[in-house]
Symmetry: C2
Subunit: 190 residues, 2 copies
């Protein structure tokens, strides 16, 4: 089970507290997506983490969740609209310096990416090799080709170098992945 | 604040329990979307309700949410991919027999629908008048036109009759809204 990022052990007691100050790939993508929204470029959002709520209580007419559980998402984390195109991707970090472990992507997420590319959407992965300080786009077609033709439990870095596309970190937008997508599909800015 | 549907007061104590047995419009749409997925027609999902998790605990290596709050969604509830098209809609029920109260749709959701139609997506509302047993599609353009040209706090039923499209309830799929969308945009089945 993947839990959301940004969890911090509290100093007083057994509880764990969630820290909203973002870091890492997810935060970079969220900032980038907000830039796209603010500049009327694209409308791509992270889907909320699905939660099974089992108990709630009321306080001052507000509902407070008293018990709940994280559920596995049935799709990728990000989707939205860019210039008439349906955009859909999953973003993952790995600390490995040599390969991307496929255990990072659930079976139903792979299936979802397959459906997206079969039905005319733009599906891809954004993979960050944190220790190499490199961010790649791997298009859904190349990802599925790899899965279908390899028994390995990870995708080697060389596959990203040969088939993926590097995204440079910049000031604004932080991680301009749509520029890469434009180049790949020959879009208006490509 | 809108809270998710399907909440039931528990018999033992102050807690409220969530009941997963769906009813109403949301359930009909979810069943319909599952039919579309199972038949390889479209990949449209309800976004999970966003929740701010503030406390968690561990039990047998699983994370349990001990405190959390429902947040306002920043977009519409449903989006996805159909035949290369970006599909995006909000679904609402009203018990009124004469009009649809605009308080049902948040300002940022209206703004989102505006963005969707301005950027080449297919944005709309599905509105159920429960006491009339009628389900309408109101296309984003007509909805926004109404908002921009009226000071009323609700959309009268006549506006739906003149500008909306009735969706018939059927056995499978339950609420075949994509058939209507096909007719409207002149798609492959239109």
């Amino acid at each position: 089970m993947d839990y959301p990022k940004g969890i911090k052990r509290s100093t007083n007691g057994n509880y764990i507290r969630f820290d909203n100050r973002g870091m890492g790939l997810e935060s970079d993508i969220n900032i980038t997506n907000q830039y796209y929204i603010d500049n009327n470029i694209a409308f791509i959002y992270k889907k909320p983490t699905p939660i099974q709520v089992t108990k709630v209580d009321y306080k001052n007419n507000s509902m407070i969740i008293k018990e709940g559980f994280f559920k596995e998402p049935s799709t990728t984390d990000y989707n939205g609209l860019y210039d008439g195109l349906y955009i859909d991707f999953e973003a993952k970090e790995t600390t490995s310096k040599t390969s991307f472990p496929l255990s990072n992507i659930h079976k139903h997420q792979i299936n979802h990416i397959r459906n997206v590319i079969n039905h005319g959407g733009i599906g891809f992965l954004i993979v960050r090799f944190t220790h190499l300080n490199k961010n790649y786009i791997l298009m859904g077609k190349d990802f599925i080709d790899y899965i279908d033709n390899n028994d390995r439990k990870s995708i080697p870095l060389e596959f990203f170098n040969s088939n993926g596309y590097l995204i440079e970190i910049s000031y604004m937008p932080r991680l301009n992945y749509l520029k890469i997508i434009d180049n790949i599909i020959g879009g208006k800015n490509g």
